[in-house]
Symmetry: C2
Subunit: 229 residues, 2 copies
Amino acid sequence: MESKCENCIVRQFNSLRALSKEELKKVSDSKISKKIMKGDSIFVEGQKLDGVYCVRKGVSKLSKLSSNGKEQIVKLTNKGEVMGQRSVVAEDFTNLSATAINDMEVCFIPKEIISNTLNTNPNFSLEVLRHMAHDLKEADDVIVNMSQKTVKQRLAEAFVYLKKNYGEDEFGFLLLTLSRDDYANIVGAATESLIRMISEFKKKGLIKTSGKKIGVVEEKTLQELADGF
Amino acid sequence: MESKCENCIVRQFNSLRALSKEELKKVSDSKISKKIMKGDSIFVEGQKLDGVYCVRKGVSKLSKLSSNGKEQIVKLTNKGEVMGQRSVVAEDFTNLSATAINDMEVCFIPKEIISNTLNTNPNFSLEVLRHMAHDLKEADDVIVNMSQKTVKQRLAEAFVYLKKNYGEDEFGFLLLTLSRDDYANIVGAATESLIRMISEFKKKGLIKTSGKKIGVVEEKTLQELADGF
DNA sequence: GAAAAAACATGATAATTATCAGTTTTTACA
DNA sequence: TGTAAAAACTGATAATTATCATGTTTTTTC
């Protein structure tokens, strides 16, 4: 037996919280839970989505290929986030690919339910609108960072961000473990350049590493670095 | 006597087209037309907006200051575009500044009318949502361009974009004339670097210049350059 | 548990882009 | 219409970042 949306806490974090009891029941009845293994793709850029994906557990990266074939990670999802919303709302192909960074549980919700509810429940529309407004603001910030900050600044910022958003374990290592490649695709740099910078940060005592795991040691200094001091 | 929204063609291009006759009349009665001179500011990053601005004539740049004090242009507005929508929807400060690139006519629409209509007319919400979805997609594209393309590629792309979106005069010069500084702030480069690149493009016969005016000569080659060939 | 593959790492070098220090040209306006 | 300010431009140089080559470590797979 599958669990119900009504009892799902992650709903609090996303636009589904604006649904009425009946609407929620409909969603719950038609949703499909899926387990996705680390590294697996959830959907691919250019695809037509038949619905949205609500993240119950795990983290995924939303990325886009540039014409030279390099991947750029545009966003990491947070718990409760609804993926594919933009595409369903705009009745458009996805412009992003979603790939699991660790093992995930997501719920697929057919697009018909979403569009119906958008048409009938203004609160839901508004809630989706607010989330999209938030995403848009964040995207603007990323644009500015990409064009005005150095790779070093962006990497410092990434570490602070990862600590704040995904936390750290008892030994001070980031809970979200990314490959060096993923780091490079987040800050928009060549993998080799990025690895060098990680070494440099480590040498300066700003971070610590243990295999792939990275721990933030000097958060304040990293933040200052990110801000350009 | 001011002209009425009911007769305003630019409405076709924006979310206001989803309004009913009565709603449109309300907007029309409460809107304030403003003339804005080239170079003047419409609103500034961090400000609380009391409404949105509908662009009737002219072009503005939406920009953001980075922590090092350099301006990054995130978007140029098109005719009919509604500025400040994100901020009003999210009940948030603006994250962007809007500045007139040439003489403009805009209509200010108080936020109360916008929020009321959002709450009562699902079609309007949906329409706003679609526009925001479109902006978000474009922002994602900009992120990828910024991080994966060279300044040269981004500049080539900018020329093609400006020609396609704002057209050219009878002599083949872009109708939208930007300063070298603005070009630099669009592609995210130092002004000197950008000027050098313009000289290079000119030397190669890809573009032509006459004072500040720039004309696209080899559109296809520029497009290929932008795509990385 | 060994072989293969993938990820991580470092050095040398080249390409890209920024910065600084000017000069020239254009624009604004008193 | 002359002049000051702003914008456009150029050269020299430095800083940043990418690329290529190669070696090491870790992970996966049979």
